[in-house]
């Protein structure tokens, strides 16, 4: 979506008003298409506040989930405003779509969506301050420059601070942001500099920042028990036994609609789910009360579903004709028949849970028909709408304050915990903090869907990949995929292989699914980049050279929004080859390197993993190298490198450890002893290099993750000769 400042909307709300001694510059940035007829209907705003002492307060508009956005978006504004970073204060904005437009953490979208607009927000504020000085000094704005929060008259050296000038901006017209020049990147003082997160001092001293830390006068604590089988209703619960526990104030059944689970249908709109609430003076008392409930659950059809059943069904489906064919280029059957070498392989990846370390929680207060919410959410406005719909109140009677999130990874795009807190608070008549247990979190997620791929591939005598066939068995209904269970018809290497066929069959799923960090890609990279590696070995080719050859000579293949810039991918592949000493490093027996690349979220990534596989089968990842192309500018190198390293290690964690399984319609894993995450002793060094290319800057929350998994699996093959086709990696199969 292209966003621009529009004249009409500026007239509507662009106001330079002196409030409390500080200047608020408010901008409405409306989507281009809607600007003419509905000026400002979908608003995206930014705020700059200048105090008389020169301290500049910048609003952080988006939810902070650890991606560093509360720091990096204000860096864009501060750079063009030309203030010293140490004089910048950042405040977390509340959810306010009229003022800020869409506020969400998802899709690695914040950098590309805001790069131009927020720098212009800073530039407009700067231009007004310069104009105020020009008026005061009776000169032209062009005679002035700025530096470190001051306007300077070039000829005389006269200076005035923004803090003083801000008080003189009331009558200054607002310039057209598009008319203002932006800084030459070589003059950047903030953008591109290693900048610790704004909240670092609070984080390292344990200050209350997170949803779980919210406290309200008279607040009670709640726990909410839902059925182990998704969507099952409460048949019976011993509410009196729970109420008998010291400190328990209330225990009640919530008779919500089972359909609110939205089986397989996505998390964004999922609503209130049936369950039993226990409210107490402390959370520990609420938990003890919950232990006495002895809930009996009604029968539910999802109880017939299991991971084992899906595996059997997937094989059956793959053996027959597909339900549909999503793409069919050339003549795959003929090409396979004529190929010099063919490979057949069945791949599998499991369900995964997001498991952010801060369990889901939300604090809500319902008073005089109005609802106030404090939530760690990635997606506040849909949460507000969901609460309005569920409680039957107006959205404008609901305020959502965004707290820092103890991780997100996509889980907090759904607001199920928010609507539960709202409901329980209204029923209770007091402020309530709802906190899920870790077990609640693992067993009531919006899971990364499992998937099955049945491949056939062929290379010709020259070692060229000439045939590719995939029967993808996924989840969904009819023509539609469950949330995040899909695959584009443009999935690589389609368009790069002359004979390509993508068949699809889906199975019904009663378990909710949803986007998890690099949705789709986090699974599809594993299967595609692993099978490409298989084809490279079948061709007797070096895997990295095979990838480059496959990408071909055409710089860009396809049209936006599904264009694939092969030139950028070749660039990162070559870079990662150099970084890692690919093909030049002599490795001892039992060690190997693997390469993989993947394009997602507008970022081009190539990664090499170096592993050692012990005779016991144990896998030690010794190092990972990452070459990345996310355009011409890294906004905050500190956050950028941290995101990439974290994404890579998370990918290794998926591959080595993580799996959610369903049995009798219930998740079998309950806590971290059954759903282990990678720990310090297994975390390799991750070396990161960003290639600067002449493209607009794009996001880093996700695209480094997908290639880490196949790079690891391909390295295991290089080290052991054993091909990983199923996750998580079963190291007992690697024993020699």
């Amino acid at each position: 979506m292209t966003l621009q400042l529009t004249g009409a909307s500026r007239r509507d709300i662009l106001k330079a008003s002196v409030v409390g001694g500080g200047l608020i510059l408010a901008f409405r940035i409306a989507p281009k298409a809607e600007a003419a007829e509905t000026a400002g209907a979908q608003a995206l705003n930014a705020y700059v506040r200048v105090s008389p002492n020169g301290i500049v307060t910048i609003m952080g508009k988006n939810p902070e989930i650890g991606q560093g956005i509360k720091t990096s978006l204000p860096m864009m504004i501060a750079e063009e405003l030309d203030v010293a970073w140490e004089n910048v204060r950042i405040e977390q904005a509340d959810n306010d779509p009229k003022l800020y437009g869409r506020q969400f953490a998802g899709g690695s979208m914040a950098t590309p969506l805001h790069w131009d607009e927020l720098r212009r927000v800073g530039a407009v504020a700067r231009a007004m301050l310069v104009q105020a000085a020009a008026v005061a000094w009776n000169c032209n704005a062009a005679d002035c420059k700025t530096s470190g929060g001051q306007v300077i008259h070039v000829a005389t050296g006269r200076k005035q601070s923004y803090g003083v000038l801000a008080g003189q901006c009331a009558g200054i017209p607002v310039p057209d942001p598009k008319s203002l020049p932006l800084k030459d990147p070589k003059d950047y003082k903030i953008i591109g500099k290693f900048t610790p997160q704004y909240d670092t001092a609070k984080i390292v001293s344990g200050q209350p920042l997170f949803g779980i830390d919210v406290q309200r006068p008279g607040m009670l604590y709640a726990t909410y028990q839902k059925a182990p089988v998704f969507g099952a209703k409460v048949a019976k619960a011993d509410l009196d036994a729970a109420k008998g526990v010291k400190g328990v104030r209330k225990a009640f059944v919530v008779d919500a609609d089972s359909a609110n689970v939205m089986p397989g249908g996505g998390n964004i709109g999922s609503g209130l789910v049936p369950g039993v609430a226990v409210v107490a003076d402390t959370w520990w008392a609420a938990r003890k009360g919950r232990d006495k409930l002895n809930v009996q659950w009604a029968e539910h059809p999802t109880a017939k579903q299991s991971s084992a059943g899906f595996a059997v069904k997937a094989k059956e489906l793959a053996a027959g004709p597909p339900q549909r064919t999503a793409r069919n280029d050339g003549d795959v059957a003929g090409a396979l028949k004529g190929a010099a070498k063919t490979v057949e392989a069945a791949y599998f990846y499991p369900f995964l849970a997001h498991s952010p370390l801060e369990p889901q929680n939300c604090t809500a207060e319902f008073k005089d028909g109005k609802l106030e919410i404090w939530a760690p959410t990635q997606n506040p406005e849909p949460g507000r709408q969901l609460c309005a719909k569920t409680l039957g109140i107006k959205p404008e009677d609901i305020t959502v304050h965004m707290t820092r999130c103890g991780g997100g990874f996509g889980r907090r795009l759904g607001n199920d915990y928010m609507v539960e807190a709202a409901w329980i608070a209204r029923e209770t008549g007091a402020p309530v903090k709802l906190l899920w247990t870790r077990e609640d979190d693992l067993q009531h997620g919006f899971y990364r869907p499992a998937g099955f791929h049945f491949f056939k591939g062929g290379v010709d005598a020259a070692g060229k990949l000439v045939a590719w066939q995939d029967h993808f068995v996924s989840f969904g209904e009819g023509q539609s995929y469950a949330s995040s269970a899909g695959m584009a018809a443009t999935e690589f290497p389609s368009r790069f292989v002359p004979n390509y066929r993508q068949d699809v069959s889906v199975m019904s799923l009663g378990m909710p699914t949803g986007p998890m960090r690099a949705p789709g890609s986090n699974a599809l990279a594993f299967v595609h980049q692993s099978f490409i590696d298989e084809m490279a070995h079948a061709a007797g080719a070096d895997p990295l050279a095979f990838q480059i050859k496959l990408l071909g000579d055409k710089p860009v293949v396809g049209e936006p929004p599904s264009a694939y810039n092969a030139g950028r991918m070749v660039g990162v592949l070559k870079a990662v080859g150099e970084m890692s000493g690919w093909g030049k490093t002599k490795l001892p027996k039992g060690e190997g390197m693997g390469v993989a690349c993947y394009f997602s979220h507008m970022g081009y990534f190539a990664e090499v993993a170096h592993v050692a596989v012990a005779a016991s089968g144990d896998v030690k990842v010794k190092k990972v190298w990452v070459a990345a192309d996310v355009g011409r500018q890294i906004v905050n190198p500190s956050g950028a490198i941290n995101q990439v390293q974290g994404s890579v290690i998370e990918g290794l964690s998926h591959a080595l450890h993580q799996q959610i399984t369903l049995a009798n319609g219930q998740v079998e894993q309950s806590n971290f002893h059954e759903y282990p995450l990678l720990r310090m002793s297994e975390a390799p060094p991750v070396q990161v290099q960003f290639l600067k290319t002449d493209y607009p800057p794009t996001g880093l929350g996700e695209p480094a993750l997908p290639p880490a998994i196949p790079a690891l699996c391909n390295a295991i093959f290089a080290a052991s000769g054993k091909r990983i086709r199923s996750l998580p990696i079963d190291t007992s199969q690697l024993k020699t």
Partner: protein, 155 residues
């Protein structure tokens, strides 16, 4: 029943059931919110505090078992010179992503450095593997421990 607890050098009284974990006593009864709940079964380390200088998972220690032990939480660790160094290293290297696990990580790192001034990589692995970082900032956690202990930090 009321328990007298020594937290960050202060004598505090908490009226809780004997089985109430120290974590919830600190958080819900005493308003000390730095120690975090992540799993409740001693698997993640987010709730790590020191009792008499030893790192413990406060979700696994009932309030009734603490006795006269001196409790230090993330809020109080900066009063200790080693703790202060660890916090400074964490800030300098911008270790955190979401930051939720970091109080526990810092408490484990401070305990490590108090027992071993110059830990090796193997020491770090052993002392820190009880703390999960879901954002996987392990690279920087290791570097920050090296920095705080005056050892060379590899790029």
């Amino acid at each position: 029943m009321p328990y007298q607890l020594n937290v960050n050098g202060k004598a505090l009284s908490a009226d809780v059931d004997p089985d109430t974990p120290l974590l919830w006593t600190l958080r819900d009864s005493l308003g000390i919110l730095g120690p975090k709940y992540g799993c409740g079964i001693g698997q993640c380390g987010a709730c790590t505090v020191h009792i008499d200088g030893q790192p413990v998972r406060s979700c696994q220690v009932p309030a009734s078992a603490v006795g006269a032990g001196k409790i230090t939480t993330i809020e109080g660790i900066g009063a200790d010179p080693v703790g202060k160094k660890v916090q400074a290293a964490w800030s300098e290297l911008d270790v955190a992503q979401c930051g939720y696990c970091q109080p526990g990580q810092i408490m484990s790192a401070a305990a490590l450095l108090k027992s071993k001034a110059k830990p090796t990589d193997a020491d770090i692995d052993a002392a820190m593997s009880g703390n999960i970082c879901r954002c996987a900032t392990y690279t920087r956690i290791r570097a920050a421990i090296k920095l705080a202990s005056g050892q060379q930090v590899k790029a």
